[in-house]
């Protein structure tokens, strides 16, 4: 089925895709879309409610809330995208190696993953940031480490099945190298699992990154960050709730979009994995 036909048939997938594409597009294209300067402070126009001059109002320093949210998308997606990609490379390699070589390599690697997995996610991330020092980069590393065992576990199972399959046995029989088997036979068959999980974990990572920034452990001011906007906005809540309310909604839409996308993709790519009914 072509992409177009799939989207037409599955409205939920189409909706999720649209939500994600619009938000990612905004984040990528924001410098050329003519938004206001997110750093520009206009003291005469502090804590304005939404209006014609500033669609979503201004914050306590007179900065445009809409511009800060859109640039906040950029910060959030850059941090989380890099983190999830790194986790996928690390966790994916570990899961594949464990499934392919079995034996002690499998046991050793997966035990190490069990240990990382034993920590509550946010707590481990906070511990890592305590070591590295608070910054967006530390937050990205922390999220990458925290999600590594999840990717390793998620990919090891299906990889085990594929490694047992006849075509892998066949490739081995004609003398294909380990690397060739892993990269051109096993990995391509895991693409659908990877896409679904990457999307869902990205959704979770967005929440973790926002939480860390909210706690003052991620992005540093004055960088536009959705989590920071919430913690700054909280101090002016009764004076002007808008920055905090809109920043939270932005986090929700972003995280929601990726989660729904992963969920809908799961149905489309592999009906056997379907949850519910």
């Amino acid at each position: 089925m072509t992409l177009k036909a799939t989207l037409r048939q599955n409205r939920l997938l189409a909706f999720a895709t649209a939500l994600v594409v619009v938000q990612v597009g905004l984040a990528l294209l924001v410098p050329v879309l003519g938004f206001k300067d997110p750093y520009l402070q206009v003291m005469a126009q502090r804590i304005r409610p939404p209006g014609a001059a500033h669609l979503l109002g201004t914050d306590q320093l007179g900065r445009d809330v809409l511009a800060r949210i859109v640039y906040g998308y950029r910060t959030s997606l850059l941090t989380c995208g890099a983190a999830v990609a790194l986790a996928l490379v690390m966790g994916g390699s570990i899961g594949l190696i464990a499934a392919y070589y079995r034996g002690w390599a499998d046991r050793l690697l997966m035990r190490a993953m069990d240990v990382l997995f034993a920590f509550p996610i946010l707590l481990l991330a906070i511990g890592i940031i305590a070591v590295l020092g608070p910054s967006s980069l530390s937050a990205a590393y922390a999220i990458a480490v925290v999600y590594t065992p999840i990717f390793a576990r998620l990919l090891r199972g299906p990889a085990l099945v594929i490694c047992e399959s006849e075509y892998v046995q066949g490739a081995r029989a004609i003398g294909a190298s380990d690397a060739r088997i892993l990269f051109s036979h096993v990995l391509p068959n895991l693409i659908s699992v990877i896409l679904v999980q990457a999307s869902i974990l990205l959704s979770a990572a967005i929440l973790v990154e926002a939480s860390l920034s909210f706690l003052g452990l991620g992005a540093r001011p004055p960088v536009p960050s959705l989590g920071l906007m919430l913690s700054e906005g909280r101090n002016f809540l009764l004076l002007s709730p808008w920055p905090a309310v809109f920043a939270g909604l932005a986090i929700l839409f972003l995280s929601f979009g990726f989660n729904l996308l992963g969920d809908a993709l799961r149905d489309t790519l592999d009906p056997r994995l379907r949850q519910g009914s």
Partner: protein
């Protein structure tokens, strides 16, 4: 439950706890640069004497293996180190902050898991395309609402429409039971909603799964009532995957509690850990992470046992 199963799970538990202890122990050694100078740097002037003094106080001048052995022996004796700035045992500082976090987490588990069963069972009564989409969107929205934002918005709404209701801070239950519970309502709501959303969707699909099994048809054929079929036959089997998810959710709640505590100014472990990070009090950070993680690991161990007890097939595998 077979003894074999119990032994295997116990061995798993020990391996994981050992690994966790090694990682937590190594934390200070992972700090880039001169860890001791960094620790001192937050509050005092750095002099070589001060560095040497703190180094020997933390045992950093010994070989690594000996450091670990000493630290581990201390942990078993209940000595998790001393706080750098106050000089008090960190266990005392943790104990003082433990109750609010424990209460918040426990109440959220009870509310989230408790409400998800009837909610999921109720949602399983309705099927069809519209319901599927509504359940899915509702569950995902509930799961992805940032709990700290929910907390902030609920504070805003209460401040606006119910002025005079105190909802920030914490009073011990023993001092003022009503005041304690009143202040817990919003934090528990904010913390448990994502869990409720996730678990009720899970219960619903497990219920639908269970209701389509042969034993339900048998129960129906022998004339069991609808209520009996739903609650006695389907729900009991549907709860099997549910139990594991509750165990995993506890980790999420322990992490989420740190953030929610911050929103509602609750003096729990979250505030302790964040304070320790800003004053670079590493022994305190180490000990807090160890205590919370060990709790989480042990809870999941117990959940595993419970799971095997509910579903005897598990321990046969």
């Amino acid at each position: 439950m077979s003894r074999h199963f119990l032994l295997i799970r116990l061995a798993d538990l020990l391996v994981v706890l050992f690994g966790v202890s090694v990682l937590v122990f190594l934390m200070i050694r992972f700090i880039p640069g001169d860890a001791v100078a960094i620790m001192l740097g937050a509050n005092t002037e750095i002099t070589p004497e001060r560095i040497a003094e703190l180094e020997s106080r933390l045992g950093l001048d010994l070989p690594v293996l000996e450091q670990y052995a000493r630290w581990l022996v201390g942990v078993f004796r209940g000595d998790l180190g001393t706080s750098i700035w106050t000089g008090r045992p960190v266990t005392q500082e943790i104990a003082a902050s433990l109750w609010p976090t424990l209460q918040l987490t426990l109440m959220s588990v009870i509310v989230g898991a408790g409400l998800s069963v009837p909610l999921g069972a109720f949602m399983a009564q309705s099927r069809g395309k519209g319901t599927e989409v509504a359940v899915r969107i509702g569950a995902i929205a509930g799961l992805t609402i940032p709990s700290f934002w929910l907390g902030i918005v609920s504070i805003l709404l209460v401040a606006k429409y119910l002025p005079g209701v105190s909802m920030l801070g914490y009073v011990p239950f023993s001092q003022d039971p009503l005041g304690n519970l009143q202040r817990m309502i919003l934090p528990v709501f904010a913390l448990s909603l994502p869990m409720l959303a996730n678990l009720s969707r899970l219960v619903r699909s497990a219920m639908l799964d269970a209701l389509s099994q042969d034993y339900i048809r048998t129960a129906r054929a022998k004339g069991a009532g609808r209520r009996r079929i739903v609650y006695r036959h389907a729900l009991r089997n549907a709860l099997i995957p549910f139990v594991t998810s509750v165990g995993v959710s506890v980790g999420y709640l322990l992490g989420g509690a740190i953030v929610v505590e911050q929103v509602f100014a609750i003096p729990g472990l979250g505030r302790l850990i964040l304070g320790a990070i800003s004053e670079r009090n590493y022994p305190l950070i180490q000990a807090s992470i160890l205590v919370v993680t060990a709790t989480f690991v042990i809870v999941n161990f117990l959940v595993d046992l419970l799971y095997a007890w509910i579903d005897p097939r598990i321990s046969q595998q």
